[in-house]
């Protein structure tokens, strides 16, 4: 959040992806048959379960690994994940909530000005890359933060950060 400007720049977190393990084998058929809001995909071998309150879609694998997507904040992701684990517990599995890890955070921001991508890429040579034939945005990668920023010519930015960079944030 850039609060030093006259017009505050709004950076909105739109998606948080997190994973955790239940440390027990899950019978997908049981979950599919006894849960509401579930989609069973036997070809892939997973169950999609959607929660309403923190709007979360979780992919559940029979090994006990679960991926939660769609949360709008890290806390929400955690809450949703725990909710989900509790739900599975009620279904009769010996669920233990472990290895919760935020994998990815996606945020969107918009600049009030347009960006000339070719010049921008030239000035930031190795860090930024722009392939008009492939994708309309220039990709700017910050290695030490493990972040990728996609800059569009209209001035909108999409920021994606890998989970490990968030560890220190969660602890603080």
């Amino acid at each position: 959040m850039d609060s030093s400007n006259d017009e505050a720049l709004d950076i909105i977190v739109t998606n948080v992806v997190a994973t955790f393990r239940t440390r027990c084998h899950l019978n997908l058929r049981t979950i599919a048959l006894e849960g509401t809001n579930v989609i069973y995909k036997p070809e892939v071998g997973k169950v999609l379960m959607k929660l309403r309150k923190p709007t979360i879609t979780a992919s559940i694998w029979s090994s006990g690994k679960i991926i939660c997507t769609g949360a709008t904040s890290e806390d929400e992701a955690k809450l949703g994940a725990r909710r989900l684990a509790r739900c599975l517990q009620k279904l009769g599995f010996k669920v233990r909530f472990s290895a919760f890890r935020v994998v990815n955070v996606l945020a969107v921001c918009s600049m009030p000005f347009a960006v000339h991508l070719i010049d921008f890429t030239k000035n930031n040579r190795p860090i930024a890359s722009y392939e008009p034939e492939l994708h309309p945005a220039a990709t700017y990668r910050i290695k030490n933060l493990k972040a990728t920023i996609q800059v569009f010519s209209t001035g909108s930015l999409t920021v994606t950060v890998r989970g490990s960079a968030l560890k220190w944030k969660l602890q603080s």
Partner: protein, 742 residues
């Protein structure tokens, strides 16, 4: 070395003659060395008088295999792996590069890139052709040739994004900065393809100007260069009248299209301007963008002030003003619309608020009649609001949660204590008419407070009767629980214990269906996935069968997916299948075709013949064996017999569904040959097999039978397509048999 100082006289002046291979002291003349090992190049005369050097190429890096293979051997043998990789890479580069018409210098540079890539081990896990394509594209970019990644993907039939990924990775790893491609580069190329004849140069110049104009108008950032070119060319196409009005019309006409790529747009415009009849389709086929894209680009161009110029003016004048990028203006437009909508919504809310005040007063009256429900429903009342708010406007939402939280805390105690009673009550309530529930919900709302938007509630409640009461209750409880659950989360313990803080079990319970629901859902799911379950069962059975036969291979992965063969007749199907499978040359396809044609003519099959196939393996085995020997002796006699036999064999074959097509074809043939020898009686008799065995002259019965049986067992792996052709034959065979048997 001894040649430094002479032994006899001590002189240092030693003459070494390479040709003679001797070292002589010039002082005393004594020969110091004779037959010195020379390292001269020797030449040998080859066939046709061509002289070539004697020797072998030795790889500079890595160990070399003993050169015992002699010259003229296959060049890749005897070289170590790295050299082989490079050589094959070079070959592929040459091949691909020549298709793109790249000059030798570019190809050499590409090969250098490839060598770098190989040395950095970046080829691991990637298809060589992808890597080659990426290297070539890298060269194209650095040299500035008008080749697009799309061209490469066209040649290789590979998804362009996959190539792009590889290209980006290589560029990053090799630290090569590929300069951004200018759409202007593509124009001459596309113009040439659109065949403007003598005027090609003119058209391309105009198109270039257009593209440059587009660049300044910010139409080209974020867009594929090819689209811009296309639009530019089309705009240049028609240019019949010199009158300014018509020219403007032309510009506007072609401006109907927007392309995400500038050059096609530019070319289209340019072509129109020069009176060339090039339709959008032509341009699209050349430039590889889609129509919508082109259209969009032209529309964007239309919005710029440049489009208002006449053609002559455009060639002469350059407008100073620059435009904003089209997506930027579009986004701004969108933002404005959103603002307007919000304002409207706000006004609506105000009006509704007034109405709700009146409603409140009425409801307070009702409230007095049901005091007990207040505490319980207060919570529910709040829950409804978020729903309502969502339905109506976004502005009032932020206020709601805060108010709700405060009230919720008061009611949570009620909830936790009385919940069970409530559940029972609610269920009773649910059982009642929806009107009652409606009323109750209204009373709930009363408690909510005057500031709430209750007018919309009526609307929503109006919808409620249609939804099952259960869902409504569920949502209320869900909302309720979720709000209680919005407490700050503590870190869970490392041991993996699930921290139940903030998770309300009741809500979670709602996620789990009760028994009846489970049954219903199970039924539905079974029906829906019936096919999949059936497949699974078949697979299991197959595996069991294989296990019994001892041919089950563990971890048998899915075989390559074969496409379904579409054919009008069985004969066609068999032919196609045979083509695909590259069947042996020993099959007489003519007979095969005849088989089916005869087979369709005759009637259905007979059961006895089917029964006769009881000991199928041995029979077909023997038949196969016999027919193989007899294949050549096929005659055209008794075509009907052929058909009959086909049907018989067809029946038999059905048992052997698992046999490969090759074998079935041969079997069909075999049966044909066999039955020529055998009378039709065999069809009627239930056990013709032993007779067949005896009647036909077995050439080498036991081993071949065993062989074939084994082969059949091996072939037990089913390929579903086999069945189709087989069954086709078999089906026809049925008919034949029925007719034949008298």
């Amino acid at each position: 070395m001894s040649s430094r100082v002479c032994r006899t006289c001590g002189g240092a002046d030693i003459d070494v003659d390479q040709a003679r291979g001797s070292a002589v002291c010039t002082g005393c003349g004594s020969v110091l060395e004779d037959n010195i090992i020379v390292s001269e190049v020797q030449f040998v005369e080859g066939s046709g008088g061509v002289s070539s050097a004697v020797g072998q190429f030795v790889s500079a890096d890595g160990p070399v295999k003993a050169p015992l293979l002699g010259s003229g051997f296959h060049t890749t043998v005897g070289k170590e792996s790295r050299a082989q990789t490079l050589q094959s890479g070079k070959r592929q580069i040459q091949q691909l590069g020549s298709q793109l018409q790249l000059n030798q210098h570019c190809l050499d540079t590409a090969f250098n890139f490839f060598k770098m890539v190989v040395s950095k081990h970046l080829t691991r896990g990637r298809k060589t052709e992808h890597v080659i394509a990426a290297c070539l594209y890298l060269v194209c970019r650095t040299e500035g040739t008008p080749h697009m990644l799309l061209d490469l993907s066209d040649l290789l039939q590979v998804n362009v994004y996959i190539l792009g990924k590889t290209f980006l990775l290589l560029a990053r790893e090799l630290c090569i900065n590929a300069p951004a491609i200018d759409p202007c580069l593509y124009i001459p190329r596309f113009a040439h393809m659109l065949e403007f004849g003598a005027k090609t140069h003119e058209v391309s110049m105009t198109a270039l100007r257009l593209v440059q104009r587009m660049k300044r108008d910010w139409m080209h950032t974020g867009r594929r260069p090819s689209g811009l070119c296309g639009a530019g060319t089309t705009l240049l196409l028609p240019r019949q009248q010199q009158k300014s009005t018509t020219e403007q019309d032309c510009l506007h006409q072609t401006n109907n299209m927007l392309s995400p790529t500038l050059p096609p747009t530019a070319l289209l415009v340019a072509a129109r301007m020069h009176k060339f009849r090039r339709t959008v389709k032509d341009v699209i086929s050349v430039v590889k963008v889609c129509q919508t894209t082109l259209r969009k680009r032209l529309t964007e161009f239309e919005d710029t002030p440049t489009s208002q110029l006449t053609i002559d003016e455009f060639m002469r004048v350059d407008l100073e003003q620059e435009c904003d990028p089209p997506s930027f203006t579009a986004a701004q437009h969108k933002a404005k619309m959103q603002q307007l909508e919000q304002e409207l919504a706000r006004k609506l809310d105000e009006v509704e608020g007034e109405i709700s005040c009146y409603k409140d007063e009425i409801e307070t009256e009702l409230e007095k009649s049901r005091p007990k429900l207040r505490g319980i429903y207060a919570a529910y009342a709040k829950e409804i609001d978020p729903e309502d708010v969502d339905g109506l406007s976004s502005t009032s939402e932020p206020e709601e949660p805060e108010v709700e939280d405060a009230e919720l805390q008061a009611t949570t105690q009620h909830l936790t204590q009385d919940f069970l009673c409530q559940v029972i009550q609610e269920e009773d309530v649910r059982g009642k008419k929806t009107d009652d529930s409606k009323q109750e919900e209204e009373t709930e709302k009363e408690v909510a407070g005057p500031q709430r938007l209750l007018a919309p509630l009526a609307v929503i409640l109006g919808k409620l009767p249609s939804t099952p009461g259960l869902n409504l209750q569920q949502t209320f409880q869900t909302f309720n629980k979720s709000e209680t659950g919005r407490k700050p989360d503590d870190d869970e313990s490392e041991s993996g214990e699930l921290d139940l803080d903030g998770i309300d079990d009741q809500e979670i319970d709602k996620y789990i269906l009760n028994d009846k629901e489970v049954q219903v859902k199970t039924e539905l799911w079974m029906k829906q996935n019936a096919e999949y379950l059936k497949e699974q069962k078949e697979k299991e059975e197959r595996i069991k069968k294989e296990k019994e036969q001892g041919t089950y291979k563990e971890k048998k992965k899915k075989c390559k997916k074969r496409e379904q063969i579409e054919a009008l007749t069985a004969g066609e199907a068999i032919e196609k299948m045979l083509e695909k499978k590259k069947i042996s040359s020993k099959i007489n396809y003519d007979v095969l075709r005849d088989l089916n044609s005869r087979g369709t003519g005759s009637g259905g099959g007979s059961s006895p013949s089917k029964a006769s196939s009881d000991p199928p393996n041995s029979n077909t085995a023997t038949r196969k064996r016999l027919s193989r020997h007899r294949r050549r002796r096929k005659t055209s006699d008794a075509n009907q017999d052929l058909a009959a036999n086909a049907s018989i064999m067809g029946k038999r074959f059905r048992r052997l569904i698992s046999t490969k097509k090759k074998k079935t074809a041969s079997q069909v043939e075999n049966s044909v040959t066999m039955t020529t020898q055998i009378t039709t009686e065999t069809a009627s008799e239930p056990t013709p097999d032993p007779e067949l065995d005896t009647s036909s002259t077995p050439t080498a019965p036991p081993p071949t039978v065993v062989e074939e049986e084994e082969e059949e067992e091996e072939e037990v792996e089913v390929e579903e397509e086999c069945v189709s052709a087989l069954q086709l034959v078999g089906d026809y065979g049925c008919e034949v048999e029925e007719e034949e048997v008298f």
